[in-house]
Symmetry: C2
Subunit: 387 residues, 2 copies
Amino acid sequence: MRVRVSPPARMSTSPSAHRPTAGAPRVVSDLPTPAVLVDVDALEHNLATMAARLPGALLRPHVKAHKSTALAEMQRRHGHRSFTCATVREMIGMAHAGLGDDLLLANEVLDVERLRSLAALQDRAMVTVAVDSDATIDAAAKAGIRHVLIDVNIGLPRCGCQPRDAGRLADFARSRGIDVRGVMGYEGHLMVSDDRDAQRRETLSAMQVLRTAARDVGGVIVSAGGTGNHDVHAEHLHDTGVTEVQAGSYALMDTYYSTLGLPFRQALTILGTVVSTQEKWAVADVGLKSLGMDHGNPSIAGCKVWFCSDEHITFATEKPESTEGGKASGGSAGSNTVLERAPQPTVGSRVRVIPAHVDPTMAMHEHMWLVRGDDVLDRWPIDLRGW
Amino acid sequence: MRVRVSPPARMSTSPSAHRPTAGAPRVVSDLPTPAVLVDVDALEHNLATMAARLPGALLRPHVKAHKSTALAEMQRRHGHRSFTCATVREMIGMAHAGLGDDLLLANEVLDVERLRSLAALQDRAMVTVAVDSDATIDAAAKAGIRHVLIDVNIGLPRCGCQPRDAGRLADFARSRGIDVRGVMGYEGHLMVSDDRDAQRRETLSAMQVLRTAARDVGGVIVSAGGTGNHDVHAEHLHDTGVTEVQAGSYALMDTYYSTLGLPFRQALTILGTVVSTQEKWAVADVGLKSLGMDHGNPSIAGCKVWFCSDEHITFATEKPESTEGGKASGGSAGSNTVLERAPQPTVGSRVRVIPAHVDPTMAMHEHMWLVRGDDVLDRWPIDLRGW
């Protein structure tokens, strides 16, 4: 199925909007490497699938996962006008790109100068900041921030106040003249689980804690969740009182989330060139400086990744499994079994490396290439990097 | 001991060269976070120590570890005029900064367009490129590259030709009109070892392989080594025939190399602000997007790091050990033993996070702050990022 790709508003909307300019690479094999490739059909599928499950304001897409105003614009065209950000720079970039209808900075910030630069956006953008302590409320008040959410700790050992303290903090914020729009909580420890029933139970239990805090706080927003349990939230919005889900990874995906059986496709790969080969391995120019490594090694289809260095990935083709459909076993091979290893790729050939963690990977690159198969359709800047 | 800090040539050499301009942060507590801090005294110590062991051309500093022409200029002032690079962009940036006396691209490149941009530097810079195959020599010849080294595999499963093929590749390069300056080999698998005697034996064994290949290749350069075994090389240059060592991490250091007992100090930290605390943990704004994570979690002195998220590090203070000098044991505590855990840091306080891997960490940041204690002396761009 071919789907229409929505060009971002800031770009030409002519029929040639997705064709590169003269002299720009037109096919993937012409791209300099390492290069971020985004499969537009997979991206479109992911955005449409999520927008069907959590339409409009029920999803507050997290831009930290792609750091691109062009991709956020595509999310807006799928109906989402409110966004989640992780950094002040993301907030400012989104507002400047005309995507400031409802921006939430979902992290605590003590830096009054930076908060002032956010406050300066408030006449043209809706700016809301997460707070979880007297100090963060003080900083927001000093900077002239008008709206906050109370960030409530619901089990992940990270930010968020004790649930029992949420009401007091809301009162304190209001006493400082700040509008409290509601609560947020991030159950990051429940995003990936082998046992999806347990994940559901624990998510619902965390949401009970958040709902209680929300009653103490007041306001209308109850913001939580992520890609890994977006489906639990979508099914239980009426039980939980959650008003919006903060998902980001669903747009591009990575190998970490791919284990969950979610209905999203792998849209992101890092293109590499094979620069050296030996009998037992091959080396491509995709390394630690182009891949988020905290979730472990990336993957290459049909290959075993040995290790990554600063600028390199060493890998080998795997022995193909039996073509008979049965699992490979220690017994005798069937007639269709191919036990020979596929030949290593040749020097100069291309490989597509699938990152284990999308967010830090995107933050390492200056731009992404939108591709369909071997055709290069466009180049988008990754323009929300840094802090 | 206070040491003189050499300002980079491109900056003012007036006495105020290390004082920030009006309005710029003057103390560490004023810096926006996360921020790369470089302790100038530790840096100066590291550069002086290495320059004493491997003076002048015996060290070819690897700029991939800091990606800064300002820091490379400081290395030049310590007597090193030849540099190692990992990317074409590093090569071009170094040449444009006037640091192009002798630049080695120690990685294979197939991209003829990029190689042409290197070749265009050759009238004002000495450009040498590593090759390890007919295809890489072809690409260099097509681009008009004048000088190469034959990259020889000496045990690390990554780039480099089979040692027995080095002479043939040198002949092939010369047949294409390219000057072959010698060989390089990188024994990356021998950089860190618990058994330094074994590390020495294996390094010398790898150098025998490289020396044999060097005889087949001809030329005058035998380039190898790194920070982790620079001392082995320094002691054995006459036995091994190695003419230069490619070390980079020694300038700034990280926790990975700190286990070796090398004479280098930790010059690099990432400054964070504590943005949230609970009874059992604290959270600072230094996360996966500001730390190379492939060598595991970073460290904070006196604290236990729990985990890192995109923009956060969760950590707790540790129970201080006995002050009696003996190792903590299960027995009764001595009179000076403090068994209580130190209090968690307060919201708004600062922490200095020590990365586990310097190279990818530096590649994530736009600039570094040169500091002495709490004084901010200067800001240097990390201007060699990307490819």
